[in-house]
Symmetry: C2
Amino acid sequence: MAPALLPASFPLCVCLLLVSGVAQAGKLLVVPMDGSHWFTIQSVMEKLIHRGHEVVAVMPEVSWQLGQSLNLTVKTYSTSYTLEDLEHEFKVFAETQMTGPRLFSILFGSSNGFFELHFTHCRSLFNDKKLVEFLKESSFDAVFLDPFDVCGLIIAKYFSLPSVVFTRGVFCHYLEEGAQCPSPLSYVPRLFMEFSDVMTFKERVENYINHLGEHLFCPHFFKTALEIASEVLQTPVTPSDLFSQVSIWLLRTDFVLDYPRPVMPNMIFIGGINCHQGKPLPKEFEAYVNASGEHGIVVFSLGSMVSEIPEKKAMEIADALGRIPQTVLWRYTGSPPSNLAKNTKLVKWLPQNDLLGHPKTRAFITHSGSHGIYEGICNGVPMVMLPLFGDQMDNAKRMETRGAGVTLNVLEMTSDDLANALNTVINDKSYKENIMRLSRLHKDRPIEPLDLAVFWVEFVMRHKGAPHLRPAAHDLTWYQYHSLDVIGFLLAIVLGVAFITFKCCAYGCRKCFGKKGSVKKAHKSKSH
Amino acid sequence: MAPALLPASFPLCVCLLLVSGVAQAGKLLVVPMDGSHWFTIQSVMEKLIHRGHEVVAVMPEVSWQLGQSLNLTVKTYSTSYTLEDLEHEFKVFAETQMTGPRLFSILFGSSNGFFELHFTHCRSLFNDKKLVEFLKESSFDAVFLDPFDVCGLIIAKYFSLPSVVFTRGVFCHYLEEGAQCPSPLSYVPRLFMEFSDVMTFKERVENYINHLGEHLFCPHFFKTALEIASEVLQTPVTPSDLFSQVSIWLLRTDFVLDYPRPVMPNMIFIGGINCHQGKPLPKEFEAYVNASGEHGIVVFSLGSMVSEIPEKKAMEIADALGRIPQTVLWRYTGSPPSNLAKNTKLVKWLPQNDLLGHPKTRAFITHSGSHGIYEGICNGVPMVMLPLFGDQMDNAKRMETRGAGVTLNVLEMTSDDLANALNTVINDKSYKENIMRLSRLHKDRPIEPLDLAVFWVEFVMRHKGAPHLRPAAHDLTWYQYHSLDVIGFLLAIVLGVAFITFKCCAYGCRKCFGKKGSVKKAHKSKSH
């Protein structure tokens, strides 16, 4: 770079004016997903409400987070399960995820029950005739949904509304199928495989088999959801019917975390949508940080879904944390481990992003959920990752291959492992350098993810979809898509021509040499 | 939409701050392409210069437009050809393009000479030792190039500089290969095929054969360029070596014109970068428009590269133009046809975008070059398209399938055809409705294409490339990419297991039934 500096106040300013400068307030139906999924969809809804749109969210009565701290119209419906059922099923899900192969534990294992609960509340929604009537009469412009529980897609189809999907990913191959997006298995690792984009032959074989497995077994996983969809829509429904109607895919992906791969024009990447400029710390935390001295602090949280761990494991962790010179702020609601060291402060809640943004933060111990990972990237904090379930193992693998963190198996790790990992990411400068490089790349973007998400939701509301971004591939059969009929036809011609040429040559040869042969023979027999 | 209107001044404002708010001025090397290509790359350069970057352009001494009207450092080098040679070769190119199959006329026909001229000036550049020394010592941050003449790619490789490519497309399959972008032949028509994304079986076969032809014959087309690259880089160079080094592809594509298809994360779409808010018309044109009455005007231009046509054709056109009630403004530098009607005004130049933006403009007769097409879309003017060469036939096909224009073959059309086409696009309301729909979609974007282009050029300058957007596919062989080794391995296992199972069964059967059989036989023979 040349040394000349432009003034710091030299921004490239872009103004988004809605439809020729006049913005029309629209009506948006939101079908969110519970748990940590709620936090990010909430930020988009808040901005849409702030921009004057009427936002109505439909939610099951029983939930953890849904509808919290948001000024919107909420329509609830009763469910056939209680909060205890939900919590029990989630616990089973998380535990089986931690111990077995993740995809197949979801498809077949006992963790399936968690998804079944989510699928079934769609039936409860459509049984609530008053609610359905209200939704029908509301004339929404679009549906904004999390595809995790499929009900949003069923609602979109039932009311013939254009849909914007907001997600980190979709189980099985339905994102690729729904968006008609190629996904070469040679360098695009499947969900839950914990592979990087550079795979060994063995890994590529496993990736391929996993993909075949998805095609075989995923319809079974979505069976209940599809049965409900078929009942509601009064016609047999396939996953493709539901997923291929989507107008815009808002994907919480950024290519500093995920590996670059083919995408489609209606996929919009808003990874890091939850990153914000750090706010000043509350007094309690400010005091901890100030008292930490030159060694600074370590932030430790296993996310909003897990706040307690078995006592033995908690003691191992407490032991490791006591062996580093940093002050550790640990979000933990269980009873304090008896061996808790002086440098470790247990808190029921912590301002994660603001703490990560503090210059004294040296490391982040995380379950590597995508929210935490993006906050770590955003603030440039090296990580020790203890993935528990879902996409967390994949997230950890991605950060590890980029040299920005160390992954540990929470069930198998010893206190030595954790202490060593912490010392490594704090003292080996390469980890800080790598995460800072990722952070610079991640934050250097032409438009903020939240603004981009809001733009595309409004785009779909304004234009009643985005049909110009829908690829013609949707109207092809699988063999047409892969040109198998064309290849077959061309092969038939080539083989046909080769066969006829061969036959002609053979005939010609017989005619020429055959006659000569018989002349010779005749000649010979005469001479005898 | 709900009726409530937000104030017109309710913009969603986004500010792009360069690297933490401090923008560093960089040094950029530009290798542009001549002709109409110059006009759009120029707008990006202007903005980069305005933002304080040092921009140096290297250009051949002999050119049509290069370097015109721009305040930048220009470094020229002598060429082995004259302006007459260039003009002659272009004429041959345009004429053969109009009469034969376009791809193969470029690959083999006499129009090849036009490209050979462009390829050879790269040798002249590298023979200019003083210029090469200057470029070496300049320590540029990046190269910004039009890949049409390949020299920019050779320069990027020679000086090991990250590159940003600015183009509407790339001949042959080198965009797909260079970016590792899948391009399903079943719905992505190849360049010059004039197919839409919905193809018949016959068209899909032709598309497939064309693609095979590209793989067979394109290395021949690029032979001279590759020879020069090999001389310069002192190692054998393949097209893939040149095209796969690109950091960012700035593609003049927008999905209201081009068909949606798989793309890659380092492809940035800036179609319509040349569209601007119409400025007030110069007095001469203002007078024409005001005098046109209720019928309004028709704008007619065959682009900057063609300003004369054969006298007979010009008379046919003049005849057709005389039969519509609109005033026609025709950009034409030849001698006026003798039958020119009163409503037709010949002008040597016209402010095309400003005229198209005037509410009295009813239609646009265009050669359907991408600049003109985007100006037509931007301003919502239905078109009569007379494509001449290059991608113009494809552009025309795209607008025609979207119901926004009528295509005529300029060689075969009669004056009746032209008059009918004009009357159709002016009087059949569907054309105006369709182009207005496209216009609304096209202009409704989160960030202006020019700002986006500038952002990504600066991004590559700041980060010395965009390695995080480079897919791992670049490091795979073709059979690994398509998982053929994995499929072969799995097939071998399946067939092996099937074979062993069959053999075991057969052996088992023989053991069981074979013995029984022989016992029976023995029994039979005994009883006899």
